[in-house]
Symmetry: C2
Subunit: 187 residues, 2 copies
DNA sequence: GTCTATAAGTGGATAGAC
DNA sequence: GTCTATCCACTTATAGAC
């Protein structure tokens, strides 16, 4: 606590996150992370017991924040919920979000088995008013996906400058708002 | 051409696809594929020169079909385009589609660099009427994502039985249909 | 807190017998 | 067309010096 402490641990997290997003979790070796930081692999093992531990440290804060959101959300207006979720993924957890999206497959095999899919599901339920209607459920998902897309390079071309988080939120709100009469489409 | 030929090649493709979807491309070793088929790794190398070649063989038919769709699409009604796309990803290319979605990161590193992202972008452009409006662009993407989600376990819970491709198509059509007046949301 | 050295294992890929 | 046997690069992870 007292006195100066090296920030190596945080630098490891930072570089690891970057590489995991860029190349994927499995493709990124500890050697590579160490080289970037100009330390040795062994130094990494001083700060983290396993490679998996790095991922855990990366995602746990995000999971906690999502949990808070989920506890607060019930009873709140839908657009407030969506806005707060948008703030989360666009804010300091943006990179973590990008990591999770880009490495779902890898996460499955990890012990952590991040709670994220389950949390997302609960969020679906909260913002989809009538979850009896399959179309409404899909719209709820898409509202969240809209927000995710607004912040992720996943299905996006890189040079999409105008696609701000605000726009994504607008579209998300449209999707989450109740339909007029027929839930279907115009003929 | 004439005479009986072993179907090992196709069985390799089948098993590999399954494992790539389930565990991810990198996590799936050739040893594992071989074991499932009860052959040796070396046998795999008779049919495919590299691990990457398996992926190529898996995606190239899909790419061709998408290319056909893209050549046919211009001038066609939007809902026809969406329907045909839905048929594609729900039909025999469903698994391939799931593979691509689940392994975007891995594909980036491959030589193939599948044309899929670029094809998707062209499809975006085709179904988004007014691509000056960022919200319209995002909606076009979401229309396609809706179709993709309707067929993929990506952000979905597993036990979502009612979420048929038809529903997804409906929602996609809504999204791709022009807005009434304001492109924004109700205040 | 960071290092060197190395263990122990897995990966993709090849040579050559049958 | 499939096998055995092997190569070698590279991985995570540990032991122990400084």
């Amino acid at each position: 606590m007292a006195g100066r402490r090296s920030d190596t641990r945080e630098r490891i997290q930072q570089v690891a996150l970057e590489l995991f997003i860029d190349q994927g979790y499995e493709k990124t070796s500890l050697r590579e992370i160490a080289e970037r930081l100009e330390v040795t692999k062994a130094a990494l093992y001083y700060h983290f017991r396993t490679k998996e531990d790095i991922v855990v440290s990366l995602t746990e804060d995000f999971g906690d924040s999502l949990e808070e959101l989920l506890e607060w959300a019930p009873g709140q207006p839908r657009d407030e919920i969506l806005r707060r979720f948008a703030d989360l993924v666009a804010g300091r957890f943006g990179p973590v979000m990008a990591f999770i999206q880009a490495n779902q497959n890898a996460m499955k095999e990890l012990q952590v088995k991040s709670e994220f899919p389950e949390q997302l599901k609960r969020l679906f339920a909260l913002i989809s008013l009538d979850d009896r209607d399959p179309a409404a459920r899909l719209r709820a998902r898409l509202a969240l996906v809209a927000i995710l897309l607004g912040n992720s390079p996943m299905l996006l071309d890189e040079e999409d400058d105008e696609m701000s988080g605000e726009v994504a939120l607008q579209v998300a709100l449209e999707l989450a708002s109740p339909r007029s009469g027929s839930p279907g489409l115009a003929p």
